[in-house]
């Protein structure tokens, strides 16, 4: 049993990671090739050059993840507890937009939210908004785009954990004179924590590396670290810097996940009661 899984991990995870690690320590250029020189300075350069974009990505991803929790919790809760026999239909409706390509969906928002587009245009004509008001090309637009694009990654694990809650536990709480708020606070929410945990991981990690939303919905000063890695690879051909950036990104995420898992992941229900 270990062998196929191990071989899989080796070929598709370990080897690429080692390759990336090697590239991040190389020097050279695309014309003469790159050689491994253990140039740890690449990491220093990468951080010096791009810490602004790093921190910005961290901020955007955190806010976007928080937004997806706030939006999808009621959504998942409602489907799980009130969906009745149409649960599957509602879930399908939730997922329906996501059958369309990521990029096309984002471009659709660019069209809908254009300065004189179908939403803002009429509002400006009726003088409900100032002429200079705009949504696109702001950090709000980028964060909203990320939250929108990763919503199902939060909603689905939440739904699964809420759906799994034994209804008799809820009834027991009610029999013991817990009001609705207390049932939620002391029974349902703690039991849904694994869903929140999985949802945060599934949302935050890709959100941090996203570059599509920033390049389509963003403006000046909204560049994320994903855009920088892309630029360093494709335009500048600075493979080592790009690899170092990828590694730093991965390290930050792994460290974050580790801390997060220690804080949240091992808690049992007793700790919340």
């Amino acid at each position: 049993m270990v062998l196929p899984g191990g071989a899989w991990l080796f070929v598709f995870f370990l080897v690429p990671i080692l390759f990336l690690a090697s590239v991040s320590l190389q020097t050279g250029n695309i014309f003469d090739g790159f050689r491994l020189t253990w140039h740890f300075r690449n990491y220093v350069d990468a951080v010096q050059l791009y810490h602004v974009q790093f921190l910005r990505s961290l901020r955007y991803a955190s806010i976007a993840t928080a937004v997806t929790i706030v939006v999808s919790y009621p959504l998942a809760y409602w489907i799980a507890f009130r969906g009745g026999r149409h649960k599957t239909t509602f879930l399908f409706l939730l997922l329906l937009p996501f059958f369309v390509s990521f990029v096309i969906r984002t471009l659709a928002w660019q069209f809908i939210l254009a300065d004189d587009g179908i939403v803002l245009g009429p509002l400006k004509r009726w003088h409900l908004l100032p002429q200079s008001f705009h949504v696109l090309a702001t950090s709000t637009a980028v964060i909203a785009g990320i939250a929108y694009n990763f919503l199902p990654f939060m909603a689905l694990p939440l739904y699964v954990s809420l759906e799994r809650i034994d209804r008799s536990v809820v009834e027991a709480a009610q029999d013991l004179y817990a009001n609705k708020l207390e049932v939620f606070r002391r029974v349902i929410f703690p039991l849904s924590i694994p869903g929140v945990f999985a949802g945060v991981l599934l949302t935050f990690v890709p959100a941090m590396g996203d570059y599509v939303n920033a390049s389509i919905l963003g403006g000046t000063k909204t560049t994320m670290i994903g855009n920088i890695i892309q630029l360093e690879y494709l335009t500048n051909f600075h493979y080592p810097i790009a690899a170092a950036l990828s590694f730093i990104l991965m390290a930050v995420l792994l460290l974050g996940i580790f801390v997060y898992a220690r804080v949240l992941g091992t808690r049992s229900i007793e700790e919340y009661v």
Binding site: I30, F31, Y211, G218, T220, I229
Partner: protein, 428 residues
């Protein structure tokens, strides 16, 4: 110049802006795999070096020898097949969606053409084919169109382009404009001949911008705060600022670059540009997200042309050539290394330099034609005076003399320095 021109027929260019760059990890993953397990970690890491291209013969500084050319082109017999990679909306199209130029080429030469609009942007396209070429493979294309100011020079330097045998290019010798002959980025046209050129100028929405822009300075005007579009790349953005400061792009020094970057940084920090765009700038201009923008000349015609003619139907979008002169760039036809059908490719390269064919293309593409003699044919035979008289399709000698060209870098270090000065403007 007149901007309310009515093109006969223009292919919609909507899709051009739709595709965004994607990170390709192919370069990194290239060559990994077999046998790595047996190596020690350090040995493995060292073996992961990304190979350069010096092993393939570096581009010769002189002309390629007749022997080399003979080996590539043989006795000049075409194979009967041409695989052509081009950009969207960059060839003529008839009412059936076919290109008359390609049909005629097939009819006259018997060479079948597989025409693919696979290039959305230089860098991602090159990122796809460079690893193939590095491993000694064939890209599957015999002819491709890539831009000067980095991409063409890089491919030449990497030794990834097939040298051209000028005995097969008589029409080019006879008819090419001086502007595209012997360009600084490819002296002697050893590896490339122009497809079309274009100007980076100013596009504006005449409903919102009442005074016709006259200079790149208009892009700095606080009056248009938040509604200005700038290009987020290493040529169009820096060159406009250098030209605005009155510097010669080619002889400018790093000090000039820093001054130009200061201008652009101030513009950014004052909130004047809305964003830094790629091809999507045109959509932003059409949507009203920007009202004045850096723009590529041919696109502005597509934007302004009525939908019934295949344009985008925004007559309020107009072109303005800044008084400092536009920035002229050239898209080039090149044969990638190891192409299967080089003879077919070079025959096509020359075919489009016949004035009649060039006229047919110019009347359609609306960028700067590399064949000045096509002007009379567009005027008299095709009877389209609006195109023939447009300074953006057939620029006068004066316009050309006033225009500026993309920076040609003398080496990688210079390019890196330039990039490190200008990139922070649009990436931070």
């Amino acid at each position: 110049m007149s901007n309310d021109q009515r093109p006969d027929f223009i292919d919609p260019a909507l899709l051009r802006g739709l595709t965004q760059r994607r990170v390709s990890r192919r370069d990194v993953l290239k060559g990994m795999g077999a046998g790595a397990g047996a190596m020690g970690l350090t040995a493995f890491l060292a073996a992961c070096g990304v190979s350069g291209t010096s092993k393939s013969s570096p581009p010769p500084s002189g002309s390629p020898s007749p022997d080399v050319l003979k080996k590539i082109y043989g006795n000049g017999t075409p194979a009967g097949q041409l695989n052509f990679a081009n950009w969207e909306a960059y060839i003529d199209v008839n009412s059936k969606g076919k290109s008359p130029t390609l049909l005629q080429f097939t009819k006259e030469t018997g060479i079948k053409v597989s025409y693919k609009t696979v290039i959305n942007d230089n860098d991602p396209f090159l990122a796809k084919i460079i690893p193939v070429l590095q491993s000694g493979g064939d890209t599957g294309y015999d002819l491709m169109v890539i831009t000067n100011g980095g991409p063409v020079e890089r491919m030449i330097k990497l030794g990834f382009l097939t040298p051209l045998d000028h005995q097969y290019l008589p029409n080019f010798e006879a008819n090419a404009s001086d502007a595209v002959k012997n360009p600084s980025y490819d002296p002697g046209n050893k590896y490339s001949v122009a497809w079309q050129s274009g100007f980076t100028i100013i596009g504006y929405n005449s409903k919102a911008v009442k005074d016709k822009p006259t200079s790149f300075a208009d892009l700095l005007n606080p009056k248009y705060k938040g509604k200005v579009g700038m290009f987020g790349n290493n040529q169009d953005l820096p060159c406009a600022a250098l030209v605005y400061l009155g510097k010669d792009i080619q002889t400018s020094t790093p000090d000039d670059w820093k001054k130009a970057a200061d201008v652009l940084m101030k513009q950014r920090n004052d909130g004047i540009p809305r964003s830094y765009y790629d091809q999507s700038y045109l959509q932003a201009l059409e949507n009203g997200d920007t009202i004045i923008s850096q723009a590529w000349s041919g696109d502005l015609f597509i934007a302004a042309a009525p939908k019934s003619y295949g344009g985008d139907g925004f007559p309020e979008i107009k072109a303005a050539i800044p008084g400092e002169g536009g920035i002229l760039w050239t898209d080039n036809q090149c044969i990638p290394l190891n192409a299967k059908h080089p003879v077919d490719a070079i025959k096509f390269m020359d075919f489009v330099y016949q004035p009649k064919i060039a006229a047919q293309l110019a009347d359609f593409i609306w960028y700067v034609s590399p064949v000045p003699a096509a002007k009379d044919i567009v005027l008299n035979d095709i009877d389209d005076p609006l195109v023939a008289k447009s300074p953006l399709v057939f620029p006068s000698a004066d316009d050309l003399a006033k225009s500026h060209k993309y920076k040609v870098f003398k080496d990688q270090a210079e390019e890196d320095e330039w990039n490190s000065i200008f990139q922070p403007i649009y990436t931070s």
